[in-house]
């Protein structure tokens, strides 16, 4: 198997994140630095237009393939709140699932409707 230059890609990802984190702290904006890093990396990709064999594509692909893995430690943190969750089980469950479902369904319908309208007009 050819070894894609993943190292350069990892460096680019961490570099963008670092720049984003430094930027939000310097400006005092209350915003996740990683999301600013995403915008910076997007600009890099638009300018460089790397091919599939480039590390700039291989490294993000690797991370995104295993994105789920990265949420596991925080998910385990729910354990710490088991006592609390037992006491307030009903409002917590209702708050999470009813509210999530409402937001999800309404957003899906609104987006689908607007996309259809846009197509009809164009």
């Amino acid at each position: 198997m050819a070894n894609p230059p993943v190292l350069r890609g990892i460096l680019a990802l961490l570099g963008c994140q670092l720049a984003g984190e430094v930027l939000v702290r310097l400006t005092g904006i209350e915003f996740p630095g990683a999301v600013v890093g995403m915008l910076l990396f997007f600009v890099v990709l638009r300018l460089r237009r790397p091919g599939d064999s480039s590390g700039l594509v291989a490294a993000p692909k690797l991370l995104l393939t295993h994105l789920h893995l990265l949420f596991i430690p925080a998910g385990v943190g729910i354990v710490v709140y088991l006592g609390r969750i037992r006491d307030d089980a009903l409002p917590l469950a209702a708050g999470i699932w009813v509210s999530w479902l409402a937001g999800f369904v309404v957003t899906a319908w609104v987006a689908a409707l607007l996309l259809r309208l846009g197509k009809d007009r164009g």
Binding site: L13, C16, I72, S99, F104, A111, L114
Partner: protein, 237 residues
């Protein structure tokens, strides 16, 4: 010769090696089950969390000890967020032409998520602190956590709630979208990114690159919009 069982155990649970290996092993088991059963209920992340919780309970190991290794894994979440620019870059020709539906979808999603979280939690008997804990749950974890602290919720519980919402979307989201007749990949991505942040986005990426790209962008925008709307809506509602 006697074995240094106690010392070895103490070293093991305090070592990052323990948390990292346990997490990777549990994740590998989750992926294996998911592939073998082909069932959306066996989400690798859900299976892995349950397995690790069982190990921690049985071994009487503190979450803080597990985090000595777990933190090394969670560290990569930031870089993975940056990596979401890739699907966005690949699908930009589609995204560019759908900016209005994206913007409206994200704002509507945020308003409905925040207001129903406050309202339903109240209705089900939750106190104000719990309502405030629930309000920012649609935003990605670092943002929901910070917002929760800002408005007087319980930040760590908000993080847990945010993750549960994401896992729910990863398991049920695509099935619900089929049921309610939303087949447009772009609309599916907008709905998932607006209400289920990174966990939902990784499921969307499994479905299609287009869906993943829309979800990634909406996840970022939802972080912005939620940060602005939560403090406002909490004062009104």
């Amino acid at each position: 010769m006697s074995l240094h069982a106690h010392e070895t155990w103490e070293w093991l649970i305090a070592s990052p090696l323990f948390g990292i290996t346990l997490t990777l092993a549990a994740y590998a088991c989750g992926r294996y089950l998911h592939r073998r059963t082909a069932s959306p209920v066996f989400q690798p992340v859900l299976v892995a969390i349950v397995m690790i919780v069982v190990v921690l309970e049985v071994g009487d190991i503190d979450y803080a000890d597990y985090l000595a290794g777990g933190d090394y894994i969670a560290f990569w979440l930031g870089a993975a967020t940056v990596a979401l620019a890739l699907p966005l870059h690949h699908e930009w020709h589609l995204v560019r032409r759908a900016l209005a539906p994206i913007a409206v979808g994200v704002v509507v999603g945020a308003v409905v998520s925040i207001s129903t979280a406050l309202f339903v939690t109240d209705l089900a008997g939750g106190n104000r602190e719990l309502q405030l804990t629930m309000a920012p749950k649609a935003a990605t974890t670092p943002v929901s956590l910070a917002l929760s602290a800002q408005i007087g919720g319980i930040p760590a519980l908000t993080a847990a709630v945010t993750i549960v919402a994401g896992i729910t979307a990863a398991i049920l989201g695509p099935w619900i979208l089929d049921r309610i007749g939303v087949h447009d990949l772009r609309a599916r991505g907008i709905a998932i990114g607006s209400t289920a942040h990174g966990i939902g986005t990784s499921r969307a990426l499994q479905e299609s690159r287009t869906e993943g790209a829309f979800s990634a962008l909406c996840m970022g925008l939802t972080a912005v919009v939620t940060s602005v709307l939560v403090p406002l809506l909490v004062q009104v509602l």
